[in-house]
Amino acid sequence: MARIIGSMSASHVPAVGNAIARGLQEDPYWKPFFDGFTPAQKWLAEVKPDVAVVFSNDHGLNFFLDKMPIFAIGAAPSYPSADEGWGIPVNDPWPGIPPLSWHIANHVVEEEFDPVICQQMLIDHAVCLPMACFFEDCGRNKGYRPVKIVPVGINTVQFPMPSLKRCFEFGRAIGRAIESYPEDLKVVLIGTGGLSHQLEGERAGHLNKKFDTYCMDCIAGDPSPLLGLSNVDLVEQAGTAGLEFMNWMTMRGALLGEVREVTRTYHIPISNTAAAVQVLEQLPRLAAAAE
């Protein structure tokens, strides 16, 4: 059976793409950000996942307001990236694993979630850049793709949005789906986005270190205090783009057992964003204890 080995979460920022392209990892502005990934890379080298299920939000590349999903599940053999309009380098495609994607889709629909199923999907910087940071050689070694991916999209662009509670429950259903997949695969969950930032409006530049710390504490420990938070409350605390924390919450939902925090870093600012990296390892447990 497939097994979820843990989760890795990180902020995503288009500017990271340029920093990688220009080799700025040791630049004083960028070093604290990229250094945050080193412990995660070490952990990855030990646990060696086969698949990454990546929770993120589209930034106006794959979806538009004409037909805006709440949740989307990729079920493509390959996920190309594309020009997002900012001149950041286009990443090579990541390979998919359609049988697992469909297994997840079938399972979550049975559990009364209503995702769009995408046999074609473009992935943007929200997928590609954290992948390039965690799997470091991807940025340097074109074509190096150590895992297959299942991208899971969450709408953070347009209200109505799913609540944090709904995201968490969606994650739980995905976790159960993964752990009922018959093939022996090691699956890592990746949640990207956030933490606090707000790009637009007179409140642009809003950051909230205290709240971000609280969120990361909840992710590492008990996420339930976050389940009552409305999306508007989340905006108030974390800024409009802080809504991307929904990706983290969905990811956290998919961790069905007890977890151990492997690493956490937090740094302000990268671009206008609070840049965080957090890795959780799912502790071994009896199969019967799975929900």
């Binding site: 930034h59 001149g87 637009e200 409006g201 530049g205 671009s271 206008n272």
Partner: protein, 114 residues
């Protein structure tokens, strides 16, 4: 519903803005293609009219008035593609919207990390 709570300087993108800003955001969505970005730069107003923007939106586009773009229904996920064309990064945009210099805005960000 989501729009009921007022948060200072914050524009929630829901039913109202999604309708009002449809043409504007649709134009910005085309900027995923370099050919469209070039066509815009060659004739910004003509490009806006081709995509059916209203006068309020066209005025805000031409003036690089980010707050005006938000009030006209713009969504930052799409607007960022427009500001990118103008060569403005997120600190430039932040400064424009908050009435600070770029250095002041950057200092504000750094201060939030202390």
């Amino acid at each position: 519903m989501a729009e009921q709570k007022q948060i200072f300087g914050t524009y929630l993108f829901g039913a109202e803005a999604a309708q009002k800003g449809y043409a504007l955001n649709n134009m910005c969505f085309t900027f995923n293609d370099k050919a469209n970005r070039d066509a815009f730069l060659a004739d910004p107003e003509g490009y806006c009219r081709k995509y059916g923007l209203n006068e309020e939106q066209i005025k805000a586009v031409l003036a690089k008035d980010v707050i005006g773009l938000l009030k006209a229904g713009g969504n930052i996920y799409y607007l960022a593609k427009l500001t990118g064309i103008y060569g403005l990064n997120m600190q430039d945009i932040g400064a424009i919207q908050t009435g600070m210099t770029v250095d002041q805005f950057k200092a504000k960000l750094v201060a939030a990390g202390k």
